[in-house]
């Protein structure tokens, strides 16, 4: 006989313009581990935040041990026995393990901390949960990453939680640490704690979960017992959506190799070999943390890396700083418009011309020829159809889509041959997306080469001539023509290397 620990009934969450969750139900039994899977944007994080009390559902009910509850804050959810361990660890590095576990509940005697009791309590929690190897007096900063994760779990359990949500707990762990985490999880099962385990790594789901629930586009797709399913079936459930007709690809003839990279390595990227052809749109797809942004930055010289060989049009070149890449006609446009791409507080024209100024455009002996600067900026402002009151407007006030167009104008004004586009459609509406897809197709048609990084797989498939999948800092597979389909690409992104020694 099973007893329900947590039940969600018909949960919907409406954000302005987006229905993030659409009538999602979930049931979690006592001592059960439920896997929760879905692509980026499937609604997993929204669901967790609703269970954890950070968001309020627009519709639906939450039942805790068969009694309806309403959480107005994360505190309320915590008090009712639900703890969440987020992907990003929330520990204070310069405090001890014990202090971190009891961070806002230090035992006090007349205003002084009762250290003896603190350490005893911490030891108790650690050892009863299979973490006896961690010294409660150790400084968190000195712990290995896996141990930090354990401390985070211990902290969650110190609230006497009956339900634990683990959000991508293995994203920064290596092989043995993952095994250790699994040991802790089985220990928690014995203690009748229920777990919701969120991960992109299906092998882990199959190893430790009892059931798995698949979300896609904010909807429940299926919930099945692990014993009755397999990876393939789960993957097709994750991706099996109708690709809406918002993508745009034009036939264009692809030329010779323009960029060839051999043996690119840094502390994250492992032995990357890559080639890009003239007039080609090369898609790179990988899940969060796969190293896709790092790869673009490494090529661009914005990240320290070792490269055996990088050839442009067959000639060996060196790129030590972005300016070297820019001078060779390679331009990178960052996904993070606010903190890495635009200069907020500055007018549109200044933002558009910054990059071109670095290569000597619009200047004589360092003096800026403002007339031609403004004219050329205006030219690209019009070409990209930026919608703003005028070109003097502060980029800060533009919508995401128009900010993105300014980013592209900034990149294109220099007439680069190779454009590295990092998530050019992140956080922008469908109309602006379509304009950007058309622009990408036009650029390729005009002989430019584009590397497109995106976390939206349909977008990659809809725009690319060729695709690389990435996982764990490596390119895992190349897909050409008919091979480009969601299922296969996703499979290669979920693939885990064998925890082998990195090259």
């Amino acid at each position: 006989m099973t007893t329900s620990a947590l039940e969600l009934k018909g949960i919907s969450k409406q954000f302005p313009g987006v229905l993030a969750l659409d009538n999602v139900s979930l049931s979690l039994q006592k001592a059960e581990t439920l896997g929760l899977v879905g692509e980026n944007g499937a609604g997993k994080s929204t669901l967790i935040k609703i269970i954890g009390g950070a968001y309020k559902a627009s519709q639906g009910k939450i039942l805790l041990a068969n009694r309806e509850v309403v959480f107005n804050s994360t505190q309320e959810s915590l008090e009712k026995g639900i703890s969440i361990v987020y992907q990003e660890l929330n520990l204070i590095p310069h405090l001890s393990v014990a202090e971190n576990i009891f961070i806002n509940r230090l035992n006090q005697t007349n205003g002084f901390v009762n250290w003896k009791k603190l350490y005893n309590d911490a030891t108790e929690i650690l050892s009863s949960n299979g973490m006896a190897d961690i010294n409660p007096r150790a400084m968190v900063a000195d712990l290995a990453i896996g141990q930090k994760q354990s401390v985070e779990i211990a902290k969650a359990l110190s609230y006497n939680s009956k339900i634990l949500l683990l959000d991508e707990p293995t994203s920064s762990l290596a092989g043995p640490e993952i095994q250790n985490l699994f040991k802790i999880i089985s220990r928690l099962k014995e203690k009748e704690i229920s777990i919701i385990y969120i991960s992109h790594h299906l092998d882990e789901i199959f190893e430790i979960c009892d059931r798995v629930q698949v979300l896609r586009d904010g909807k429940n797709i299926d919930t099945v017992a692990i014993s009755e399913t397999d990876t393939n079936s789960i993957v097709s459930k994750m991706v099996g959506r109708d690709i809406e007709d918002i993508y745009f690809k034009e036939e264009h003839s692809i030329g010779e190799n323009i960029l060839e990279i051999k043996g690119l390595n840094d502390h994250y990227l492992k032995n990357i070999n890559l080639n890009l052809k003239r007039s080609e749109v090369l898609g790179i797809y990988g899940l969060m943390g796969s190293g896709r942004t790092e790869l673009l930055k490494a090529i661009y010289g914005a990240r320290k890396s070792k490269i055996e060989s990088i050839k442009l049009n067959g000639k060996e070149i060196t790129i030590k700083h972005p300016i070297d890449a820019i001078k060779q006609g390679i331009i990178y446009s960052s996904e993070d418009r606010k903190s890495e791409n635009l200069f907020f507080g500055n007018p549109i024209w200044k933002n558009i011309s910054y990059l071109a100024l670095q290569t000597g455009s619009f200047s004589n002996y360092n003096f800026i020829a403002h007339g031609s600067e403004l004219a050329k900026s205006k030219d690209y402002y019009d070409k990209l159809n930026v919608k703003a009151p005028n070109i003097e407007a502060d980029v800060y006030n533009l919508s995401g889509g128009n900010q993105q167009k300014v980013c592209l104008a900034k990149a294109l004004i220099n007439e680069p041959d190779i454009i590295l586009l990092d998530e050019p459609t992140r956080g922008i509406d469908v109309g602006a997306k379509l304009e950007i897809y058309k622009l990408i197709a036009n650029l390729a048609g005009a002989g430019k080469s584009i590397i497109l990084v995106s976390s939206e797989l349909p977008e990659i498939i809809g725009s690319s001539d060729r695709v690389y999948s990435m996982a764990n800092g490596q390119i895992t597979q190349e897909f050409i023509g008919e091979e480009i389909n969601e299922k296969d690409i996703l499979r290669y992104c979920l693939q885990k290397d064998d925890f082998g020694v990195s090259a």
Partner: protein, 317 residues
Amino acid sequence: MTFIKSLFAKSEFIVFLGLLVVGAFFSFQSPVFLSSFNLQNIILQSSIMGIIAIGMTFVILTAGIDLSVGSVVALSGILMATMLNSGVNVALVLSINLVFGITIGIFHGFSITKMRMAPFIVTLATMAMARGLTMVVSDGRTLFAFPESFNYFGAGKVASIPVAIIIFLLYAITAEILLQKTVLGRNIYAVGSNIKAAALSGIRTNRILTFVYIASGVSCAIAGTILSGRLDAAMPTAATGAELDAIAAVIIGGASLFGGKGTIIGTVIGVLLIGVINNGMNLMNVPPFWQSFIKGAVIFLAVLIDSIKNSNEEAAI
């Protein structure tokens, strides 16, 4: 109408209005205030602080700070005095002094960019080290009696206009042209506005940062020359606290400590405002202790106005 609106949107204009109001107030309080002698005196007094503040503007535009300026001015004065007193040629002394200013800047730039130290701490350390060296070299005594040709920069006149004022104005104009009209200037604003985006736009941010600290060091060296020449003396305690006045002038002039915002014209007006307040209070015989209080209150007010204005901008969005 839009022209007037755009004027009021500029911090420089507001500070300029403040300057006029304060000036009008003092001219009613003291008949001497508006005399050409007194006005020239205000500008002369402001020129040394002005030159230091111009260097400081470069630094603050990149969201940095240079606390060492007062001590570096004093050390520059003492070093030159020592060389002059042992008979070194004036032209050579002036050149060595400029090299000294550049060296201080390179040291700061290197520590901040390559050693990744915080500007506040690095320049705080230099502030103490430079002041200490000043004492060591001078043995705590005031050095004086310099050649006429050296004193010319601090005390000389061209057609009844003090050379110091001419240097200050030329320096300000050059700095403003550099900031507003050149790629280098644009890049300084870019680094202060968003250093990551600047680097990804191909700007060599380390060079820009080093440049602004060199600009500050050179400004101190020039200020040191004028100060020693004007007094015909180099004191080890000279320019104590100058860093605070310089920072205040830059901020009053509309620059933001978070970088990316500010102009030389703003700084010049800020320096003049502080100069006028100092001068006016002296004419009115305000006791020195109160002078310090009032100056502090003015700085507070200026920053408050700017902060309120900026929060309105935020709210409008």
